[in-house]
Symmetry: C2
Subunit: 284 residues, 2 copies
């Protein structure tokens, strides 16, 4: 089960997930001014960050939107970035938030669990219910893949629908219960399921309830840093062990801004990773 590798990497190297939501404006001057193509510039940026941080992070999350924004050459860069993460022996999460009917989900599974864009985990939106999720089950079983399903998102409007009550429970709690149930068939040796959940750090009180609803679920936790979540907020969530990985994107991959425009930018990104790791672990 892929969750065992992620779990072990997190225990060994820490609960930081570096979000490679790379935009051209994040690149240091020396790269922007080089003769490389946009594809090569962004890949070089990502590669240097991966090389610098690989011993200190649990995994990498690559936000596909930033690459779709650059068209075909962006998609080539997306493919190369994920391949590089996996070649280096780290876990790649493709943040694609796909969600569609069964026959279409099968196509997404082929797209992201095989071929040019092959990754370890994808993120999934289950507004359309279980048949938008079940086509991935075969790939979890037979191809050692996994997914994180959106439960409670970190953005301000997350509450628009997710916090509405459906009977006794909110929508995000209903979603949490279903995701936990779907995950029961895919529990690894580590005790967690290869079907995880995305739950934002920005709502620490809600997280407590979610943990009770989802005891076997490993969490992908956005919202640290730029979005407002702190190591203190994580203390409760991680009090019985590292049951998730905490993503930061801008907070890490722009850490070199106002410090350097040179090839040493990766030093500052790694420094930010180490600070984040220290911050989180200091509360445990």
């Amino acid at each position: 089960m892929i969750i065992d590798k992620l779990y072990n990497d997190v225990q060994k190297k820490g609960p930081v997930c570096v979000g490679l939501d790379t935009q051209l404006s994040y690149l240091p001057r020396y790269l922007l001014d080089s003769d490389m193509s946009v594809e090569d510039k962004i890949f070089e940026f990502n590669k240097k960050i991966i090389d610098a941080t690989i011993d200190n992070v649990g995994c990498y999350k690559v936000q596909i939107a930033c690459y779709e924004a650059l068209g075909i050459e962006g998609m080539r860069c997306f493919s190369r970035t994920i391949k590089y993460i996996r070649e280096k022996g780290a876990i790649a999460i493709s943040d694609v938030k796909r969600g569609d009917i069964s026959s279409t989900a099968k196509q997404y599974a082929l797209g992201h669990f095989t071929g040019d864009f092959e990754t370890d985990f994808i993120t999934v939106n289950a507004y359309m219910g279980e048949d938008a999720v079940s086509p991935y089950y075969d790939f979890i079983k037979n191809n050692d893949k996994g997914m994180f399903i959106l439960v409670k998102t970190s953005n301000p409007s997350g509450k628009d629908f997710q916090d509405m009550y459906m009977g006794e429970h909110t929508l995000y709690q209903q979603m949490g219960m279903k995701v936990s149930q779907w995950g029961k068939n895919f529990i690894g040796k580590c005790g967690y399921s290869s079907i995880g959940a995305v739950v934002g750090l920005t709502y620490p009180e809600e997280f407590k309830i979610i943990k009770e609803i989802m005891p076997d679920t490993f969490f992908l936790i956005p919202g640290y840093g730029a979005q407002g979540g702190t190591g203190k907020d994580l203390a409760n969530i991680f009090k019985d062990g590292l049951c998730g990985v905490v993503n930061s994107s801008r907070g890490l991959i722009t850490a070199h801004k106002n410090k350097t425009e040179g090839a040493d930018f990766d030093y500052f990104v790694n420094e930010a990773v180490l600070n984040m790791k220290k911050d989180i672990l200091s509360w445990l």
Copy 2:
């Protein structure tokens, strides 16, 4: 407003939307056996269908999952297919069902409303609330773009969450009310908004309620044909006029199967389009 063009095309050429959810297995033998690349084969298939049907359809919907499944060359084919539809003067809907936090949604907007993948409409999943939608508003206003937001989907598991009651209303009704409200600022001369809704034909009773909740909303309606919806089901929805476009994918683009393996396959696809159009209009 882009909705005016879609509305006019539907009134003039009929309410059929051809879903180019193309898979290699759909291609006739003569194309499969040719020396072309996979990209060229699928583009040729799509191109011939577009050429054959363009006078008889309201628009085309391209399901990106089928192209992501083929990696980089699939994405090139996706780009070429959308470009071709728009060059021929027809409306392209990119069925991408994206949905993410504000800063990421901006990247998706750049990805699908500019550059290699530029389209007219995208489909959007609003589980994450309004800030997963609002980054597209500028593009509706300034770039003549539009979107269809998932309200009630046509798949069997659509009910898992969408049919749950939140107070007096189900989740899909709550979603419908929000989408209708968000759309008020983007109403075109035709009386409908450039923010439309995806509502499956497979639940005709629910559709009645949705139409009352969403009086200014133009609908993208999947579920006809292969998924079970019929022209009869559309009679009520269209009784005051063509307020939507009805998608069929497999039912149309595999119509040549068991009839020909040759270059005349497009004749059978167009025949299926004409039959579908006739079926729908016969009930009005």
